[in-house]
């Protein structure tokens, strides 16, 4: 039989992604979201083939168009915005005007999914909530993303990733014990993870619609989604004690921790199971420890885990990373070097895998982006284009979906129902780009 890795390499080949089918082809998503949390849910559906139409206010745009790290734009755009918004259609429509509402209701009739992340109940007061759109299209699946959800006394509290982390209690778990230093989970993961869960909820609702023909309303609270992944509530209900913080060791495994090797590299080492514990003891050269802590639960007790942590720390400190990895291969325990942004970007294996993609965009040129977290062999996720300037697809959307004539579109422009950018970076095209010659922007 063919070697397993030759076989998997063949079926996952990232070069063939473009030729493979898209799961959600033909599905239309109306995306009334901004910043990260809601847009992520819509992006996932787009990544697998759905047609995602992102609504923004003309001349204003999504706040995250200006969300740049340390104030530096990349080709007059935000790279994070590219990552969160790739593959969508950008439609700038002034929601305040009655004509805009008409357009949205018409589009809702032809859409499958609506996603929004305004404050609870806002879209209802605007007349584009579930109660209104489901009248136009009873099969519609409507996902509302809010930090505290749509129901309950705190529903009107405003929220960001940070607030969701604070409210869920995730923050109280990270850091060193007995200090007043707190750290947030990095990279707005409190937005990205719930966003992905939102996409999953929509897929489940699509399954349900395929089965029964019924649409439904989904209320996803960001903080609640984060609470789902926290162990401390269950821990506390069993022990009546606070789980607290454990610094650089994982209290569920002993030994475990992030240590510094003698060549100055940070290395995470862990023994998740008894087999791995045995392996690590052998690698350290202390086989007597295997019998000392034969019982896993005994080993994990705070004072014993501390002893093992100190032993492991000393051992890692006296060895270099290559040597440690070789030992791990031989003795089967978990090890990984701490990788920073630069290393992750330039890791060969990630590029080979398609987890890091060098994407060449027609408008913006070359940008490295991550691929999907889960690789599907037959219907992989893909990037089609990066984010576009504000209102870039106005003409295309009105022409193809609603069949508006040239005159009607011009009239809408004149009445400022639709529009595009002003001179700020983030919403305008890059200076070198000749937008007047762009066939999509000037869609006939």
């Amino acid at each position: 039989m063919e070697n397993y890795f030759d076989y998997t390499k063949k079926i996952f080949d990232p070069a063939k992604t473009k030729e493979k089918p898209e799961v959600f082809k033909g599905l239309r998503v109306l995306d009334f979201t901004h910043v990260i949390y809601g847009p992520t849910a819509a992006k996932i559906l787009g990544q697998y083939g759905a047609e995602v139409i992102k609504f923004e206010l003309p001349w204003v745009g999504d706040l995250w168009r200006f969300g740049v790290y340390w104030g530096s734009f990349w080709r007059h755009s935000s790279v994070c915005f590219h990552f969160v918004q790739y593959g969508k259609y950008f439609f700038a429509l002034n929601l305040k005007l009655p004509k805009a509402k008409e357009i949205i209701l018409k589009m809702a009739e032809k859409a499958d999914v609506v996603i929004e992340n305004f404050a609870a109940g806002t879209t209802d007061t605007w007349g584009i909530g579930y109660s209104q759109l489901s009248k136009a299209n009873p099969g519609i699946i409507y996902l509302s993303c809010a930090t505290y959800g749509q129901y309950g006394p705190m529903r009107f509290f405003p929220g960001w990733d940070l607030l969701a982390q604070a409210a869920s209690g995730a923050i109280a778990l990270t850091g060193y014990p007995d200090t007043d230093k707190y750290y947030k989970l990095p990279d707005y993961v409190g937005d990205f993870l719930p966003g992905n869960i939102g996409a999953m909820a929509v897929i489940m609702a699509l399954n349900y619609r395929n089965k029964t023909g019924k649409g439904q309303y989904i209320d996803l609270a960001q903080a609640e989604a984060l609470m789902r992944i926290l162990p401390n509530f269950t821990y506390e209900s069993i022990t009546n004690e606070d789980l607290g913080r454990a610094g650089n060791t994982d209290p569920t495994m002993a030994p475990s921790g992030i240590f510094k090797s003698c060549d100055g590299k940070f290395v995470a080492v862990a023994a998740a199971t008894d087999e791995q514990y045995k392996g690590i003891c052998e690698a350290i050269g202390r086989p007597e420890l295997v019998n000392k802590y034969k019982d896993t639960f005994e080993r994990l007790k705070a004072e014993n885990a501390k002893e093992l942590y100190d032993i492991a720390s000393k051992w890692v400190g006296s060895s270099n990373i290559d040597n440690l990895v070789e030992l791990a291969k031989k003795h089967h325990f978990a090890i990984a070097q701490v990788e920073d942004d630069y290393e992750i970007t330039h890791d060969e294996w990630r590029q080979e895998r398609g987890s890091v993609i060098v994407f060449t965009d027609e408008m913006y040129g070359k940008l490295m982006l991550p691929g999907p977290s889960a690789m599907l062999s037959k219907t992989p996720g893909r990037i089609k284009w990066l984010a576009r300037p504000l209102g870039y697809h106005n003409r295309y959307i009105l022409r193809t979906i609603l069949g508006y004539s040239d005159e009607e579109i011009k009239q809408l422009e004149k009445e400022r129902v639709i529009g595009n950018w002003d001179d700020r970076p983030g919403i305008k095209p890059p200076v070198y780009y000749d937008i007047a010659e762009d066939p999509m922007f000037n869609y006939k």
């Binding site: 104030g71 990270t174 869960i197 998740a272 895998r353 889960a374 599907l376």
Partner: protein
């Protein structure tokens, strides 16, 4: 659709605020509603790796029949638990992920066990495994073999470096853990204090949540759901591959995009944020508060609430507050801290809320919301009436596991919500049931 049906919908989801409240209240309770994937059978063979259990939990919550297959002695994951805390030999994370599952023992090292698995796989829709890449294949029960007897099978494999590529092959002997997944995927490198703080404060730091495993589990479930959607449409199954050493980096996107555009790594900057300010934690009289007021109008509101208006001129626009000059931002951090420590967390939250209400009512629209939230401890979160009303927690009482509480109902859906029906996880407790139902 008939006129009557249309009217029904009007009544059911009618526009008024009160009706919306009633509709939403009904959504908080999942009991009695349809389960969306109750026609799916999932085999979970994860071993010593809870990301597989997390993945199958999500399917179980949506109604699938999940059969967790363990070796006769039980999955070592049962013993992965904080400080060794356990109930009858079952650790906290394993209890948390024992939602609506069936537990079966099979010795896959024996031919007989593998034969039984094959029979089960014929009737299954999804398989989840976390063995080293190629091991199931070598046993004759990998994707290649099982997809021949069951072409619609969705096969989810979770491993540190994935199922293909050079590194996956080279590192085949290295098992997975959450902390190593965090290290390799860029979590740890971006938590920690600024370089000047001294060791070990400036070291990379582990997130106190299982970001490596939970994200891998959720992404595996998402990938599997997409694959299953395709199977339903075409009958074709496929393999879904998740690399725990990468799933976080690919989820958040920052490490790669920043690594490319800056051509260097970000430094660790402690409690600060790279894009917006103020966005972090401050001490209050009695605890810690999180403050997010990065937008200009929110920032102005914050200054008013904290009596700091005199600084408005220096930090007026978002781009005056870019945290790239760290000394400047430290200085401003202290100015804010002077004020926040004067009040208790509760007072600060209330001040912010009062201001929000005032600004919402004012004629001057866009008055801003100073966003302040108390950093919650688990006990306070659990007692919060908001989550009680939303039924976010559920108490369980099991003969074997005793009494405990779990976060549940994490997605509220009007028609087919996920839910937890039971939590039970005796080793091999459902052997007879499964043999009767699937192997006869």
């Amino acid at each position: 659709m008939s006129k009557k049906e249309k009217e029904q919908i009007l009544v059911r989801y009618g526009g008024s605020r009160k009706e919306r409240e009633i509709f939403l209240k009904g959504m908080m309770n999942p009991d009695g509603k349809d389960e969306v994937i109750d026609d799916a059978v999932v085999l979970d063979m994860s071993y010593g790796n809870l990301s597989g259990d997390i993945c199958s939990s999500i399917y179980a919550e949506f109604g699938a029949e999940v059969i967790k297959i363990e070796p006769p002695g039980g999955d070592p994951s049962r013993k992965i638990t904080p400080y060794g805390v356990n109930r009858k030999g079952v650790g906290v994370p394993f209890i948390m992920e024992a939602r609506n599952k069936r537990y079966m023992t099979l010795d896959l090292r024996e031919e007989a066990g593998r034969e039984e698995l094959k029979k089960l796989a014929k009737k299954a829709h999804v398989i989840i495994e976390t063995y080293e890449p190629g091991k199931m294949d070598a046993w004759g029960i990998g994707y290649r073999q099982l997809s021949e007897i069951n072409p619609g099978l969705v096969y989810i494999a979770i491993s540190p470096y994935g199922q293909y590529g050079k590194k996956a092959q080279e590192y085949i002997d290295i098992p997975d853990s959450d902390i190593t997944a965090q290290a390799a995927s860029g979590v740890a490198a971006n938590i920690g204090d600024m370089p000047g703080e001294g060791e070990p404060w400036n070291w990379p730091l582990r997130a106190g949540v299982w970001l490596g495993w939970y994200i891998s589990g959720v992404e595996a479930a998402l990938g599997g759901a997409i694959a299953r959607y395709y199977t339903k449409a075409t009958g074709e199954g496929q393999i879904v591959d998740v690399a725990t050493a990468d799933s976080y980096a690919s989820l958040v996107g920052y490490p790669v995009t920043i690594g490319f555009t800056w051509d260097k790594a970000r430094p660790r900057i402690g409690k600060h944020d790279f894009a917006i300010y103020p966005y972090g934690f401050w001490k209050s009289k009695d605890g810690i508060v999180a403050i997010a007021a990065g937008r200009d109008h929110d920032f102005r509101a914050l200054l008013k609430v904290l009596n700091l208006w005199k600084h408005e001129d220096d930090y007026r626009f978002t781009f005056d507050r870019i945290p790239d000059i760290l000394t400047q931002i430290e200085e401003f951090y202290k100015i804010i801290e002077e004020q926040t420590t004067k009040y208790t967390s509760g007072e600060l939250v209330k001040k912010a809320l009062d201001y929000s209400i005032k600004s919402a009512r004012s004629k001057w629209r866009g008055g801003g919301v100073p966003i302040i939230m108390e950093v919650q401890k688990p006990a306070t979160t659990r007692q919060n009436p908001h989550w009680n009303k939303r039924r976010s927690f559920q108490e369980f009482d099991d003969e074997m596991l005793g009494k405990f509480t779990m976060p549940v109902n994490f997605i509220k859906m009007s028609e087919s919500p996920p839910r937890v029906k039971w939590v039970k996880c005796g080793i091999g407790q459902d052997n007879a049931y499964i043999r009767e139902k699937y192997l006869k």
